[in-house]
Symmetry: C2
Subunit: 225 residues, 2 copies
């Protein structure tokens, strides 16, 4: 991602340019991501983003028109990054049960490791998803997610280890809910119930429980004796 640091790229070494628009843009976006995810759309300050950038406030408006557009780009970049990581997951060669298990654990861990993304989605929901609605990019990015899960599920039904009649979209909803909540509500939950939810051992426990829960929900009912 930081390819414009003028070290190996022939194009870059030749040019030796002082102006580096790509990197300036990326830098602004990175700072904006931190600021927006930390303080929200209304809480984040353009001046503060400008300060933390190696560019100036002028540059923010030069590349991103206004605050809301910058926020939208931040949101899009975040979704893009997530879906890119998801794409690396290769479930086709795994048995359905293992595949589902892996998908759940991946989602759980991924969310836990990317609180910035989670917070941005929370913030976007506070805004009723009105920016997400403007972005065709995000809509298209997410199209495939359900298909992957749906494929695993259908294979599982075919092999007889998953019960029939479930909707992949609802299944994805369940997995998302548990993984998302783990990050989104960590602060209030931990404080109210005086529980070190973020501690590694508790995170491990939760990951196991979540995986267990999804599997128990999907697996075929075992016949009573």
């Amino acid at each position: 991602m930081t390819a414009t640091s003028a070290t190996t790229s022939p194009k870059e070494t030749r040019r030796r340019r002082k102006n580096d628009p790509e990197s300036v843009r990326a830098d602004i976006l990175a700072v904006a991501t931190r600021e927006f995810s930390e303080k929200g759309l209304s809480g984040a300050r353009i001046d503060e983003i400008a300060e933390k950038t190696r560019a100036s406030k002028r540059m923010i408006y030069y590349y991103f028109s206004d605050k809301e557009t910058l926020y939208l780009h931040t949101l899009e970049a975040a979704y893009q990054k997530v879906r890119l990581q998801e794409a690396e997951l290769d479930l086709d060669h795994l048995a359905p049960l293992d595949a589902l298990c892996r998908l759940v654990r991946f989602t759980f861990c991924h969310h836990a490791k990317n609180p910035d993304f989670i917070r941005l989605v929370m913030i976007e929901n506070i805004h009723h998803g009105r920016f997400l609605a403007q972005s065709e990019l995000i809509q298209s990015l997410n199209a495939g997610v359900i298909d992957v899960l749906g494929d695993v599920y259908l294979r599982g039904v075919a092999t007889g280890c998953f019960r029939e009649g479930l909707d992949p979209r609802e299944l994805h909803w369940l997995i998302s809910a548990l993984s998302f909540f783990n990050v989104s509500n960590q602060h209030t939950f931990a404080r109210i119930f005086d529980w070190q939810q973020a501690a590694p051992e508790n995170q491990q426990k939760l990951e196991d429980h979540v995986t267990d829960m999804v599997l128990r929900y999907v697996r075929v009912d075992r016949v009573a004796p």
Copy 2:
């Protein structure tokens, strides 16, 4: 809650006062709840709250010192309201399985019917729960919630319908997660997956699935044939 409407109370009818601090306070708090839950702490405007109140901005500062204190009171009032409704739930006379079922459905529906509360909790999490941490009131309010669930669970284990080894706190976490996510992420989820999640029939489906999921998680494993 709206006891100061000067209709039946003898004290009120006698006095016929023009100054009505209690009701002004309550009015401010009600408006503030709407504004904060809609726009967040930084997004909400004191001037706008003042406009929508039948009192003036001066009164807001008179009763609530500053913006953050007003927000804190809003949060406390919201939690209080919720816990009050929860307290009405009487699970002791129900069989463990029925009790758990009812608890899950209640939580799910309650959250769905109180998006303002959910949004406030989301916002509070964006702020890392730092206001909730200041409030001894909220801490104390939530103490009993786990106990109720824990009681049902233990009864279920005793009767042999629930499996052993589960932590009531983690069980509560699961129920909360699913019920909370249903409201908190409705906008982004519905838009991304082009799903009318808020539609009554889908809400009913989700409620059933969530209940089903929790029960499947808690019930004893049925023996294989």
